[in-house]
């Protein structure tokens, strides 16, 4: 497994290409399906339709309907089927169209997939990937806009991946498929068309290695998934005012690269955690609590956090836009943390 430590694929030898997030995911799947005949895809409208987001377009043409399986609208059922297949020699990739629908499969995910290995004393394995989405502002209202990754992060036995660039998405998805554990892979539905560089050559990215997306010295902004771009935009705003923000992207939150996060905070003395899940009892809490505990004596100011507003996501654009962290909001809180107004 190649292990580039940073997000700068240009450092690699053979040059790069610019592709979208959707393409990156598709390429990862296609490469792994070519490499390993045990890998297959199951989900709703995954074959000819290639999912409503068109992320899987073209895969059925190459791999056929036996390996790109259109399932009924039965999230619990086909997740369970994938678990059974994973326990018996296959490596399924489940497609759950919207992250909000993991609610329907939580027993299979949390009580079955996550626990089989442990309950069997290590005898059974569940090499399973669940791909699903997060992210609001698509005007899709309360049941199609949630970012529920905190739930699965809470359950021992699951790994949780939150890519924020095409480069990360491709490398992490390939790692997820090769992992022998159930991995939940969250894609920001608003980012599928975002472009980025990926190496020409094959690569993977190890889990548990955070990526410093921007270096800085005055404040650390830990940001996940959709919020990485927001944090980078905030860093631009802050730079104009002479505040140098470091943006750390954990990339996987289970396992979590505490070292990189803590090293950054120890350097800057200030920390702000940004994530698009509901703030209350969410992902920002865990990361903030870790920083507050383990970097306590290095902190010059309290650890702050910004999640989505604790309201069901409203439909009306004028309301929905208020519920998600924005560069302005992030910059504002960072500014206050740095003692500026």
């Amino acid at each position: 497994m190649s292990t580039p430590k940073t997000s700068t694929p240009s450092a690699l030898e053979k040059g790069t290409r610019e592709i979208t997030m959707a393409q990156a995911i598709r390429e990862a799947l296609a490469e792994e399906m070519r490499r390993d005949t045990r890998v297959f895809i199951i989900g709703e409208d995954v074959a000819e339709a290639g999912t409503p987001f068109k992320v899987l377009s073209g895969l059925v043409e190459e791999f056929g309907k036996e390996r790109v399986i259109d399932a009924p609208i039965s999230e619990a059922g086909f997740t369970g089927i994938a678990i059974g297949a994973a326990m018996t020699g296959m490596r399924p990739v489940v497609d759950i169209m919207f992250g909000d629908f993991i609610t329907l499969a939580m027993d299979q995910i949390a009580n079955q997939a996550a626990k089989v290995h442990y309950m069997s004393g290590g005898k059974l394995k569940v090499p399973l990937v669940i791909r699903t989405t997060l992210g609001a502002t698509r005007r899709s209202a309360a049941q199609h806009s949630q970012s529920l990754h905190a739930w699965v992060s809470h359950i021992p036995g699951l790994k949780v991946v939150l890519p924020s660039t095409p480069y990360d998405a491709k490398g992490l998805l390939k790692t997820a498929i090769r992992d022998d554990n159930p991995v939940v892979f969250f894609e920001d539905k608003m980012m599928y068309q975002v472009k980025g560089e990926v190496p020409e050559e094959e690569y993977t990215i190890p889990f548990g290695v955070a990526d410093v997306k921007r270096e800085g010295k005055d404040i650390t902004i830990v940001a996940t998934s959709s919020m990485v771009q927001v944090a980078l935009a905030a860093a631009d705003l802050l730079a104009e005012e002479g505040i140098s923000a470091e943006v750390v992207d954990p990339r996987t939150i289970v396992p979590l690269d505490k070292q990189t996060i803590l090293a950054s905070v120890k350097k800057t003395g200030r920390a702000l955690v940004v994530d698009e899940g509901y703030q209350r009892f969410g992902v920002t809490a865990e990361i903030a609590a870790i920083i507050a505990e383990e970097a306590f004596y290095d902190l010059d100011a309290p650890v702050k956090r910004i999640g989505a507003m604790d309201v069901p996501v409203p439909f009306s654009p004028v309301l929905e836009d208020l519920t998600v962290p924005t560069p302005e909001k992030v910059a504002q809180v960072a500014r206050e943390l740095c003692g500026r107004r």
Binding site: E44, D45, A47, E48, A49, P52, D70, A71, P72, I73, S74, A76, G77, D100, F101, L104, R138, R139, S140, A141, A142, Q143, H144, M309, D310, V311, P312, P314, F315, S316, P317, V318, L319, L322, T323
Partner: protein
């Protein structure tokens, strides 16, 4: 299928004779209104004036109208992502619906719900639902509530054939049957679950499913509002009479895309198929023809109705376009009662 009420049988059904001419015309007007509403929604989307997406009911109008005609205002319905038709048929008004779809303050849900969550409890609509099968429990619970409170209200659960994939439907059908609840499951089989022909994801016999749970079930021509109405009347009578739940499998077709943005459909169905349903099985044409043959209406009356609907739609969309957005401080109101 054997249980399907054929047009000829429908025309003889005693229930038809009990419907007044005015009621027939009202049903026709409602169907025209639903279609015009949806065409307007499509236009709002294509012209970039509507946020998000919407799932249009065009082609399926006879089902919502035929079912709701058999209901009282205080009866309940639950609806789906494809819910504008149900909402209108149960009694919502065009202007406030458009306002909701545009995320405006006078919308039925203050713009917080939008197309997929529109609810109008005043007319008995407990809400659209963006989770396929998500409202099957709610409708069944409304029926339990009616029974416990000793009213004779009925609850109708509308859903697409895709919801047959959701386990909760079988869980609640079992309880509805056990407890003889006044609930009617209306399955609108429009042949596709998103972009997949339903037969590719559905095994066995649909009607046998409710029947296995002891639920009275029949197939209905979903393009013929008379057939839908007759079957619904009977199901409602069973429900109010304490005989328990029914399941109506309404065969139908959506004319347009799964949602407004689903323009190229060639990879999952043919233009010919679409054209066949439109020309041979159009619910508006079927009803209009019969109304004329029965001399309940003539061309002029129908055109007057069309004209009235056009005006209502135009005024409604105008109202919505001009309406204000909700106040920003609404964002964290109504999280808790």
């Amino acid at each position: 299928m054997s249980q399907m009420i054929l047009p000829s049988q429908v025309e003889q059904a005693p229930e038809l004779a009990e419907v007044s001419h005015d009621e027939w015309l009202r049903m026709y007007e409602l169907m025209v209104k639903i279609r015009a509403f949806e065409e307007q929604v499509n236009e709002l989307y294509l012209s970039g004036k509507m946020p998000g997406l919407a799932h249009l009911y065009i082609g399926q109008e006879a089902i919502a109208v035929g079912v709701c005609q058999a209901l009282r205002p205080d009866d309940y319905i639950t609806s789906t992502h494809r819910g504008h038709g149900h909402c209108l048929a149960k009694g919502a008004s065009v202007d406030r619906m458009f306002a909701e779809l545009l995320g405006k303050a006078p919308g039925y849900c203050h713009g917080k719900g939008g197309s997929m969550h529109i609810a109008d409890p005043d007319s008995g609509n407990l809400g659209a639902n963006a989770i396929v099968g998500g409202s099957t429990g709610i409708a069944t619970g409304a029926a339990l509530s009616a029974k416990m409170r000793g009213t004779d209200q009925v609850a109708v659960c509308f859903f697409g054939e895709g919801a047959l994939g959701q386990g909760i439907l079988y869980e609640v059908m079992n309880m509805a049957s056990l407890w003889k609840l006044p609930v009617i499951y209306v399955c609108e089989n429009n042949q596709y679950t998103e972009y997949t022909p339903y037969r590719e994801v559905l095994a066995g016999d649909i009607l046998a499913r409710p029947r296995a749970f002891g639920i009275h079930a029949e197939e209905v021509d979903g393009q013929d509002v008379r057939a839908v109405y007759v079957a619904s009347r009977r199901a409602v009578a069973r429900a109010r009479g304490g005989e328990g739940p029914s399941f109506l499998l309404c065969t139908t077709y959506r004319y347009l895309g799964h949602h407004v943005g689903d323009i190229d459909r060639s990879y999952y169905r043919s233009k010919e198929e679409e054209q066949r349903w439109r020309s041979e099985r159009d619910p508006l044409k079927i009803l209009a023809g019969w109304l004329m043959r029965q001399k309940i209406a003539d061309a002029q009356i129908l055109e007057e109705i069309n004209q009235r609907v056009r005006e209502e739609i135009a005024a409604g969309v105008q109202f919505a376009l001009e309406a204000p957005y909700p106040d920003p401080n609404e964002v964290d109101q109504h999280v808790y009662a």
